[in-house]
């Protein structure tokens, strides 16, 4: 009768806060913050406090479903697994292994991701494995790997509290990473200066000492302008550059072209502001750069990341306590799923597939021949659906809402020969599936998550999955056996041991070491206590590299036909495609309907009033949503959150890709706005 309290990890953002769920009679009845958790320390955001609400939602998938005509029919696991295996095998036999693709998930545990990519790579001898990191921090992984050798947050979240200057670029941490914002406020209370670069006046910007409302997509000009001024004023850390960096001359040459005035012109702000910000940053004893989707989701996302790293390295503000570069990962385990090799070009631990040594190592360990050809990325797989890709296995992803130009995505998904979707709800994507496998949510499985500060944390099973649903771990093992691969694992613990043996940086990670507070990688052996910050004496790649960031202006600029910039993003009560949050009554109450923010002057011109229904149209499609008149957006800009299936902001977004990381340009496209006719106002 007594309630049980189980310590676990929040399933939402990359902060990885500690939750304690209260279980009564096999049901989760409440969530409490974990007072002893190293990151959240007894606090939670709105999503965390109500994380239990979706778990027992009646919409949860309880049995495998197979498509028959236009409807789904429940089948048993005994039918589902052979069906899946047979279809995948047939596809591989007919079209070759490269016609099969797999999307693993940033929502699943490290062990599951590891198994997923292992399954795809082993069974089909292909590297067509990717996941939604492609849509958020692929540029970070690529860009930071080039500059520092390690595509992860250099420091720990708690380090932010010790910084004297925090430069936040393109992150609305207050809504997307609230607990991290708390650390920033700690620094503010100690006297730190917070500078926010964001076209929108976000909640973060409202609380900052300085807010730079730059034109969308002009991050490189701004950072280049800052670097130029730092160089001109001699504020750079010459000793650091001499000892630890390379490529300085190239950078200097590049900066020749970027006078502060030119930068200011591009950004639409004053040159003195840029000088001022540059000085504040460079002169601060400890300075941190926090960035997020505002940097990465551009067609020049990787170059943006380069520019950010260049600035930090130019001032020597990296590789020590407090100072560093803090990319904020968006999903609870997006760091982990990248680490576990859920990317088409690398094995677990970022060991390149085209690196013969790595290939050899994994071939030996897995006892199968592996492909040395980098696989297709998520965007390429979706784009090539029905062509190069004939069968797709999607584990807990929802590209029908999250990918750019979703109208096109939907068309592509419909073209697939066979689509398996493994999820906890019948998502928009699952509706296209031929086979739907019911999976377990965070409270129903054991495993590890890696949060944005590279901390492996233990997820503990609190309750059993509903109905016949199974943990992804179990499903993967079943499917592997169906495909004739031996996955002899009984517990995720064993998978973790296998990972530790294959990836040196995770060599010391064991479940029993994670019980109390988790471990931050690199952790090479079982005596190592984890690494609080990276690049202390030397960069992971040896010397740090200045990469010159090549500026590409946003692909689509407002013109006469489409006069507004569209910016997409999150809002605080919802999370990504809303699969979980919109099924949580409390969170959904906070915001039930989609909206788009528009500046009062623009609204007045278009005759739009608060709450009116408006139609936003881009070259790719249009959505109808409610207008919210707000000075948070700049004049000439529209902001729309992308959580809503009834007004998918990603119908509008532009699928133009970053050449290196293949991330689409989510943050900028051109749209037009009209008020819906009176009869459609729905009043």
């Amino acid at each position: 009768m007594n309630p049980e309290f189980i310590k676990t990890i929040c399933p939402y953002c990359g902060t990885g806060c500690g939750l304690i769920v209260k279980v009564e009679n096999g049901r989760i009845v409440g969530t409490y913050p974990d007072r002893e958790h190293p990151v959240s320390r007894g606090t939670l955001c709105i999503k965390g406090w109500f994380a239990h609400e979706f778990v027992h939602h009646p919409d949860r998938l309880k049995t495998p479903l197979v498509r028959i005509g236009n409807r789904f029919e429940a089948i048993s696991w005994d039918e589902a697994i052979p069906l899946a295996a047979e279809k995948l095998k047939a596809t591989a036999e007919t079209y070759g292994g490269d016609a099969v693709g797999g999307l693993c998930s940033a929502k699943c545990t490290n062990e599951e991701n590891y198994l997923f990519q292992k399954l795809i790579r082993m069974a089909f001898k292909t590297n067509n494995v990717d996941h939604c990191a492609r849509l958020c921090h692929a540029p970070t992984a690529a860009g930071m790997a080039q500059t520092t050798g390690s595509g992860a947050m250099t420091n720990s979240i708690s380090d932010l509290a010790g910084a004297d200057c925090i430069l936040i670029i393109g992150s609305n941490a207050a809504e997307s990473h609230p607990i991290i914002m708390g650390e920033i406020y700690k620094a503010v209370d100690k006297g730190a200066t917070v500078i926010v670069v964001d076209p929108r006046k976000t909640a973060v910007a409202q609380n900052a000492a300085m807010h730079l409302s730059i034109n969308p997509g002009t991050d490189i000009p701004l950072l280049a302008g800052m670097m130029r001024h730092i160089l001109d004023a001699g504020l750079h850390d010459a000793a650091f550059i001499r000892e630890r960096m390379e490529g300085f001359e190239e950078l200097k040459n590049f900066l020749q072209a970027w006078t502060v005035e030119r930068a200011a012109g591009e950004c639409g702000i004053g040159g003195d502001t840029i000088r001022n910000v540059a000085e504040v940053y460079a002169k601060a004893k400890e300075a941190a750069i926090v960035y997020c989707m505002g940097i990465t989701q551009h067609a020049c996302g990787t170059a943006n990341v380069h520019a950010v790293c260049d600035l930090a390295m130019l001032c020597g503000k990296i590789g020590r306590d407090f100072s560093g570069v803090y990319p904020l990962r968006g999903q609870n385990n997006v760091q982990g799923s990248c680490d576990m090799g859920g990317l088409p070009n690398v094995y677990p631990g970022y060991q390149g597939v085209s690196d013969p040594a790595a290939q050899e190592k994994f071939q030996q360990a897995w006892e199968r021949d592996l492909s040395d050809k980098p696989g297709l990325t998520l965007t390429e797989m979706i784009g090539g659906a029905g062509k190069e890709i004939r069968a797709l296995y999607i584990m807990a992803e929802n590209p029908a809402l999250s990918d750019p130009d979703v109208n096109h995505v939907l068309e592509s998904l419909a073209k697939l020969d066979f689509l398996i979707v493994q999820d906890i709800f019948l998502t928009e994507t699952a509706k296209f599936a031929h086979l739907v496998l019911p999976a377990a949510c965070f409270a129903e499985k054991t495993g590890t998550y890696t949060n944005t500060e590279r901390r492996f944390q233990l997820l503990r099973q609190a309750i059993e999955p509903p109905g016949e649903a199974k943990g992804d771990f179990e499903i993967l093992c079943l499917l592997a056996n169906g495909l004739g691969i031996d996955f002899p694992y009984i517990h995720p613990r064993e998978v973790m041991e296998e990972i530790a043996s294959l990836v040196p940086a995770y060599g010391g990670v064991r479940f029993d070491r994670l019980e109390r507070a988790g471990l931050q990688w690199p952790c090479p052996d079982t005596y190592h206590s984890g690494t609080r910050f990276l690049h202390e004496h030397k960069f992971t790649r040896g010397k740090g590299l200045f990469v010159t960031p090549q500026y590409t202006p946003p692909f689509e600029k407002p013109d006469e036909a489409y006069p507004y910039y569209l910016n997409t993003g999150r809002m605080f009560a919802h999370y990504h495609t809303g699969t979980m949050t919109r099924r949580s009554p409390f969170l959904n109450r906070e915001l039930e309907e989609p909206y788009a923010e528009i500046h009062p002057e623009d609204a007045q011109r278009a005759g739009i009033r608060e709450g009116d229904r408006i139609r936003i149209t881009s070259r790719r499609g249009s959505i109808v949503t409610a207008a919210r008149i707000s000075e948070r957006v700049a004049k000439g800009s529209i902001f729309a959150p992308f959580h809503f299936t009834e007004a998918r902001a990603n119908i509008l977004t532009n699928p133009v890709l970053d050449p290196i990381s293949k991330i689409p340009e989510f943050k900028v496209c051109a749209v037009k706005v009209e008020k819906e006719p009176y009869e459609n106002q729905g009043r």
Binding site: T43, M181, R516, E590, L591
Partner: protein
């Protein structure tokens, strides 16, 4: 103190004074969590730290328990006061509740700026003297002095609010379902910072006569808003004007709900004929 609490717990369970004792247990993986002790063996793992408000949990345990179930709660001063307030608001029955009062340490009292770091019914531990919250510089900064400067200070702090509802969720006395803070009439939904004036002032005012200054809200705030300071002024006003303090006694009734003809409020000048009214209507 720990030993004494364990002894009392054992004797309560042995003598069947209560069917369960709510306290903290050091469980598997060294995790400390609330627990209802109902057999003597478990009592060995009982711990008292960290400070963890159990009042609301006691309420939920009593609600889902059969009739006649009696629960003992290991209660700090604030816990006891919160329980008293819950009893006053009919959220639990007084005779089904027993408390094992423990005193807080001086350090804890200083962290909480607690005026009464001990329960009225003290069973274990030495009570330490209370702290005057208004002697604390941060509190004074927020509540005393130039009002314009104070307004800016509060605005700056409250502007951080990310509307996590942690303050409400962790409050031992907030029991309403639904809550006014969830209603778009009172607090704009879907926007952060939460409307500063309405969210925080409505929350603060709803607790004006029930807040026991336990500090749970402040501890749960991810953005470090000094929420307890918001209550202090009202608590102090009620204490000075009416001699009322929340949670001391179930018989002590809130002056804004009862005895309404009595002295209205500080600073309110009444016409002199009112005086006779007060005197005549003591009953």
């Amino acid at each position: 103190m720990l030993q004494k609490v364990k002894d009392i717990t054992r004797s309560i369970l042995a003598e069947k004074q209560a069917d369960g004792v709510l306290g903290l247990i050091r469980g598997q993986w060294n995790i400390i969590q609330p627990h209802v002790f109902d057999n003597l063996r478990q009592v060995d793992n009982l711990v008292l730290e960290p400070k963890w408000l159990l009042a609301k949990m006691a309420m939920t345990v009593l609600r889902s328990s059969p009739e006649g179930y009696r629960l003992a709660v290991i209660a700090r001063g604030c816990d006891e006061r919160a329980l008293t307030e819950l009893v006053k608001r009919n959220q639990m029955e007084k005779d089904r509740l027993l408390t094992i009062g423990i005193a807080c340490s001086k350090e804890q009292a200083e962290i909480c700026l607690c005026q009464r770091p001990y329960p009225e019914k003290l069973d274990a531990g030495e009570p330490v003297a209370g702290v005057d919250p208004f002697a604390d510089e941060t509190t004074r900064d927020l509540l005393v002095g130039d009002s314009r400067a104070r307004m800016e200070k509060w605005a700056r702090l409250l502007k951080r609010c990310i509307k996590c509802y942690g303050c409400r969720n962790s409050c031992p006395i907030c029991v309403c379902i639904p809550c006014k803070l969830e209603d778009e009439v009172w607090v704009e939904t879907g926007v952060i910072p939460a409307e500063m004036i309405s969210y925080h002032l409505i929350r603060a005012f709803h607790l004006s006569d029930t807040c026991v200054a336990c500090g749970a809200c402040q501890e749960a705030c991810p953005v470090h808003i000094p929420l307890v300071a918001l209550q202090r002024s009202m608590r102090e006003a009620l204490r000075q004007v009416y001699g009322y303090e929340a949670g001391l006694d179930t018989e002590m009734r809130s002056p804004i709900l009862y005895d309404l003809f009595k002295k209205p409020a500080a600073g309110q000048i009444l016409p002199d004929w009112i005086n006779s009214l007060e005197n005549d209507n003591e009953s």
